[in-house]
Symmetry: C2
């Protein structure tokens, strides 16, 4: 242990974007940044530091699926569109998710034991507030099992070994790394890498590059210059099956339902949200600097509102996420979570 601090750390210019209150006072404060860009990566609106480099976590999933879809994997194995959506999912481990992933594995000659994502209590217990049964849990119910099933299917498609499919040097992960760089407009050598919660390589991007990637995803046409029909195929599947990308009662499902086909949304761990708006050809990327999930949706709803994207129906649909109450152990409202983000025009 050194003298008790990391002396050379310099924080990005994050700003307060959400608060929690108790009684009439402020209790806690969440810093963060927002980038809103067009498909070319031009920053149109921002809060804090739109160039802040953030690990993308599960917001990366549609990009991680690009090589498999570009190479015709879903058609080769006969995946339906709900299963294409599952390639990009942080799902709740509901029966429909588990069964569809089991089928994805079987169609490519893989088994649940091949999944190297690890295990956790199925997410639908968190949504319902029920206490989950004790472990062990199936890797099929891991929120990333669809992504991993796709990775294993990509290995089968190309005849690559599957025992080490998560190694950075594996041909699958090298193709994914190139796709992430290409699709987000970042030099591949500049990508910062880390290991994700599900043990796959993950990459950090400037927030503006993540926003750009979602602008490109949302507005994708059949002839993407680098990935052909793959981005449009993934976007269409996500938008058509929002509960396969997330689950019943989950924010991404609510966002895509509110978007009525125009919004493609994906959350990431540690306070990350990316949204592409097809009609405007823009992407939105949010990072809650401290990683707090509770602050994310209030900020996202405020950002959508400030961009003029909330008509009455959308506003109603997203009200539960806009300023949620803080409840105590007896269900008494002790405060609220409120956005304080202010977008500036660049």
């Amino acid at each position: 242990m050194s003298r008790g601090s990391t002396a050379d750390f310099r924080a990005p210019a994050h700003v307060p974007i959400a608060i929690t209150t108790r009684g009439g006072g402020v209790e806690s404060i969440h810093w963060g940044s927002v980038a809103v860009t067009d498909r070319g990566g031009r920053v149109l609106h921002a809060a804090g530091e739109p160039g802040a480099v953030v690990f993308t976590r599960s917001a990366l999933k549609p990009l991680q699926a690009l090589p498999f879809v570009r190479d015709g994997g879903p058609a080769h194995f006969g995946y339906d569109r709900a299963q294409v959506a599952l390639l990009c999912a942080s799902h709740s481990g509901e029966a429909r998710h588990v069964e569809a992933v089991r089928d994805m594995l079987a169609r490519a000659g893989n088994r649940a034991e091949d999944l190297q994502c690890g295990t956790h209590a199925p997410g639908h217990y968190e949504v319902s507030g029920e206490v989950p049964p004790p472990p062990p849990y199936s890797p099929l119910a891991h929120n990333c099992s669809g992504k991993h099933a796709g990775m294993l299917a990509c290995c089968a498609l190309h005849g690559w070994p599957k025992g080490d499919y998560l190694e950075a040097g594996h041909p699958l992960q090298r193709q994914i790394r190139t796709a992430v760089a290409t699709f987000s407009g970042i030099a591949e050598g500049a990508l910062q890498a880390g290991i994700d919660g599900c043990s796959a390589p993950n990459y950090a991007l400037p927030l503006a590059a993540l926003a750009r990637a979602y602008a490109r995803l949302a507005a994708a046409e059949a002839g993407d210059p680098d990935f052909g029909a793959a981005p449009a195929t993934l976007r269409d599947a996500m938008v058509a099956f929002p509960e396969m990308v997330s689950g019943a009662g989950r924010p991404d499902a609510a966002l895509m339902a509110a978007g009525r086909g125009d919004w493609v949304a994906k959350v990431g761990a540690e306070g990350v949200q990316a949204i592409g708006i097809a009609s405007l050809g823009i992407g939105i990327a949010v990072k809650v600097a401290d990683g707090a999930k509770r602050a994310l949706l209030p900020v996202v709803v405020a950002v959508l509102d400030q961009l003029g994207l909330l008509d009455a129906a959308r506003r109603d649909a997203l009200t539960p996420y806009a300023r949620p109450n803080v409840l105590n152990y007896r269900g008494i409202v002790t405060g609220t979570i409120e956005p304080v983000v202010e977008l500036r025009v660049q």
Copy 2:
């Protein structure tokens, strides 16, 4: 829903105090502040804004116990010292905690049904990582049940009604409010109030006032001018029974064990820690601005280190809390939590 932000919010001058890493990069950043004061409230060292007003949450418990102990409650009902420690506890709901609280209630003619703290899964499950059984849970296992048992006993001692013992206007809560103000050196009218997780009134204090209160608690002698022997009685019980104040494997128990009788420590929800150092007559108060528990102990250990309080034995004992690893769903180390706090001399 207004236009999506709380426009008049101004944050205190919190600074980055801890980071989480992934791979070689920074993933998330926690802002916050630290105040180190003497018994008179003079700020000796600080980070961020030592005057930031923060809800004290469970760090308030020793102050909330002052009227009951001053009025002779523990002796009147025959509470032992472990039970006096429980008055100040955020305990883990272990059998020893539950049984001691049950006895505290019985000795004052109260019952578990009188507790208005609510219920939650006993904290020892979180410590062990085991999945708790499904609800219902007993209020006896609520982390604040010792405080509430003391509040009900105080009502019995004075013949106050117990049905509304958590109401701000109840004589008990009025006495507590006065005690909080007096002991921390704040004008009572300046106290900001809110409702705590356990439904009791809670108060926000400037960090420096919380530090001052813990300096006064730690260095208390039998003749405190306002509360007589009560502060020393509470301090002695907390220091002698650190696992009754918290639980096996909990940070406050580790801090007080490391302090070898010299440190009195109490955590509070939403990223609050207060520590009094008897030998130096100082108090330390930390607030992680965003409320994240994971950042708290790394910052606390760094602060103790920078104050020169860590000899080899203490450093060893606190190493598990100093720079904890971040593990993923397969137990792979994906990063660390690291302090970046730098105390400045005032």
